[in-house]
């Protein structure tokens, strides 16, 4: 498509043309109305003048009869101006006046007549020129007829001026329309072309590109901004996926290697049945761990896709928090940790009870695993620690907090701690897949909530906020659900 064809096909171009066409018709109507009004005005004045003159002439007739009338008419006819006079006898033969030729029958009409005529001078010189006049014919008592009129050349001139004005303004309109349409269409086309170009560049793989925003804050800017937000979200997801696949490659290869090693070892120990059996048992343990990691990853993926929305129902989070805490309470006690639970009853939310239960379990499990100050090498018992679990609501949201007295997480590491498979150095030596917090975050996000890591001074406090309605906005670009609390 050539540039010009593209321009003519642009919606902006067509729209501008239509609008200007409509305005031209509007302007024509207005000018026409004005012209008509002017003509009416001029006609009215002409009629008044004719009436006045007729009145004067009738006074002359009354005072001096037909002879005097004829003289007066002869005298007035010689004056310059647009007044017309004609006096005829009953047979229609002219006696006096400056009107020569009249169409047949005009003199028999009563009242005002719009007619053509010729002046006496022109008639005598043989010059053919049809003039227009507005006239009134009076029949005098003796059968004489008197025509008093005005030439309409002036009215014609006004009409001509009007027509001229209309023509000129239409030409201007057309020119403006064409220019305006070209300008608007080119402007819009340039921006649309820029957007399409960017979109193509993004499709070609340049995912960092964003649509240009002109700053005019018009509808194209709004569109560009909306699309840019979408691109940012897609970029975020893509980056997340890339990171996940990198991490999966790393964190699944490690247990897979161990799995393989155990299986090989079992083969090598074929002449030592007891050792071979132990290796096989470890093989199974290793594969069970892999399955758990796999399930957790799937669950995160599903929660992030919001696919579990069907499993949502209304339930009491306070009750869930209490029951999950109760599940972990004996374990915590065995580790020398006091689990303090404070859950206000009646914290109803709409959500997936299983997933939220799993999220709470992960947080408490983390607190029990990592939130304990390790005993000194001397063997002395660590001071009794506690884990505080509480749930409270303010009508709109429910906040679940799990706070420990362990070493905590430095502020700089908090955002990273939630990422998949990230196990901070301090935790590397202990069991775990590094998916617990990510899963909790994904579950919170799926419910339209967020997970925040805060300082418990000392220790770590993880706060999960869930909206009671739990209807995650499906379209609005949600802010990153993870915030590293100060």
């Amino acid at each position: 498509m050539t540039a010009l064809a593209k321009l003519f096909r642009a919606t902006a171009f067509k729209l501008t043309l239509v609008i200007l066409g409509l305005s031209a018709v509007g302007a024509g109507l207005v000018l026409g109305a004005v012209a008509w009004q002017v003509v009416q005005l001029v006609d009215g004045e002409t009629r008044q003048t004719i009436e006045a003159e007729a009145k004067g002439l009738s006074e002359q007739y009354e005072a001096g009869g037909i002879r005097r009338l004829g003289n007066v008419i002869e005298a007035r006819s010689r004056r310059p101006g647009s007044s017309l006079y004609l006096l005829t006898n009953a047979a229609g033969e002219p006696l006096a006046g400056n009107v020569a030729q009249l169409p047949q029958g005009v003199l028999d009409q009563a009242g005002f007549v719009d007619t053509t005529y010729q002046t006496v001078d022109e008639y005598q010189s043989g010059y053919q020129n049809a003039r227009h006049a507005l006239a009134r014919i009076f029949v005098l008592p003796s059968g004489f007829r008197l025509l008093v009129g005005r030439d309409l050349a002036e009215r014609g001139r006004i009409g001509a001026v009007m027509v001229h004005a209309m023509a000129v303004s239409l030409i201007f309109f057309a020119a403006l329309a064409a220019l305006g349409a070209l300008f608007v269409a080119r402007r819009v086309l340039r921006r649309i072309d820029a957007m399409a170009g960017t979109a193509r560049a993004i499709m070609a793989g340049d995912l960092k590109r964003r649509l240009p925003v002109s700053g005019a804050d018009d509808e194209l800017d709004r569109l560009a901004r909306g699309l840019n937000e979408m691109l940012a979200r897609i970029g975020e997801l893509m980056a997340g996926m890339r990171e996940v696949s990198d991490n999966i490659a790393h964190d699944l290869r490690t247990p897979l290697t161990r799995l393989r090693n155990h299986a090989e070892e079992a083969l090598r120990q074929s002449d030592n049945p007891a050792a071979a059996r132990a290796e096989l048992e470890r093989t199974i343990e290793e594969s069970d761990d892999l399955i758990k990691i796999f399930d957790a990853l799937l669950m995160i993926a599903r929660a992030e896709a919001g696919a579990d929305r069907a499993g949502m129902c209304a339930f009491d989070v306070g009750e869930t928090v209490a029951s999950v805490a109760e599940l972990y309470e004996p374990l915590a006690e065995e580790q020398g940790v006091a689990l303090k639970v404070e859950a206000a009853p009646g914290l109803a939310i709409v959500g997936n009870r299983e997933l939220i239960g799993q999220a709470i379990a992960n947080l408490i499990d983390n607190a029990v695993k990592y939130g304990v100050v390790e005993a000194e090498a001397s063997g002395a018992l660590a001071p009794p620690t506690e884990i505080a679990v509480n749930a409270r609501g303010d009508g709109k949201t429910v906040t679940i907090e799990v706070a420990d007295r362990g070493p905590g997480i430095p502020a700089a590491d908090r955002a990273r701690a939630i990422e998949r498979f990230v196990r901070l150095e301090s935790a590397r030596s202990r069991p775990g897949s590094g998916l617990g917090l990510s899963l909790a975050a994904a579950v919170a996000r799926m419910h339209g909530g967020a997970v925040r890591l805060e300082d418990n001074a000392p220790g770590l406090k993880v706060a999960v906020t869930l909206p009671t309605g739990a209807a995650a906005p499906p379209t609005a670009p949600s802010p990153p659900p993870i915030e590293a609390g100060a």
Partner: protein
């Protein structure tokens, strides 16, 4: 005891052969079907104690198969096996008329325990016992009282439900996930062996002061409550 009859409907021949062999080794009579239609015909003839159905089958999928059986008023307990292991998959499976749901891959000990629990279930409509008795251990489900050899044992509500479930399945292996599902009503992975600590607490209460232990740990599988005197 006449051997229990199990029908396995599974299209993966290796998996079906492995499962059939393992089930025969523990004393079941096993029939196999490789697609939904054959499986449905066999199951419809009845006489099975448990049907193990893969969720994705050629010709007729597992959930439709169970639904068709239930529509025919055939209520043979059905265990659904599935590669879809998420919570809502399980809910769908149970809603379709399945009695239990196990995600692949599974440990045979887990499947075995679940099949046992399904096979020896009291028939539908039979009156529920209000008092469970195993040896000298007695649990009254109405008054929530537990006694052993006439001595009352005080239990926390959760411990009571744990014991109730174990006694309901007395003599059978109960796995940790079965306990988590039936006593706590959760289907997720608790990461740590939290269940073990609960069981050992319960054990301390019902076994400590008595000579013969009743609550046994079955290595690699789970727990079993049985009369220690016999």
């Amino acid at each position: 005891m006449s051997s229990m009859r199990i029908l396995i409907i599974e299209d993966d021949r290796d998996a079906a052969a492995y499962l059939a062999k393992a089930l025969r080794e523990v004393g079941y009579a096993v029939d196999q079907a490789a697609d939904g239609v054959v499986g449905y015909d066999l199951a419809q003839e009845g006489g099975y104690d448990v049907v193990i159905v893969d969720r994705m089958l050629p010709k007729m999928d597992g959930l439709s198969l169970i639904g068709a059986l239930r529509a025919q008023k055939i209520d043979t307990p059905a265990l659904i096996l599935s590669a879809l292991g998420q919570v809502d998959d399980r809910v769908k499976g149970l809603r379709a008329g399945g009695d239990d749901y196990l995600a692949k891959p599974y440990a045979f000990s887990e499947l075995h325990a679940r099949v046992e629990a399904l096979a020896r279930r009291r028939p539908k409509g039979a009156p529920e016992e209000t008092v469970y008795r195993v040896g000298d251990l007695e649990l009254d489900r109405l008054s929530h009282k537990v006694t052993r050899a006439g001595e009352e044992i005080a239990l926390q509500p959760r411990e009571f439900r744990l014991l109730e479930y174990l006694m309901q399945n007395a003599g059978k292996v109960v796995t940790r996930t079965m306990l988590l599902e039936h006593v706590w009503d959760y289907h997720f992975d608790p990461q740590t062996n939290v269940i073990d600590v609960h069981v050992s607490r319960l054990r301390a209460k019902i076994d400590r002061d008595f000579e013969a232990p009743m609550l046994h740990t079955v290595r690699g599988a789970g727990y079993m409550l049985r009369d220690g005197a016999r």
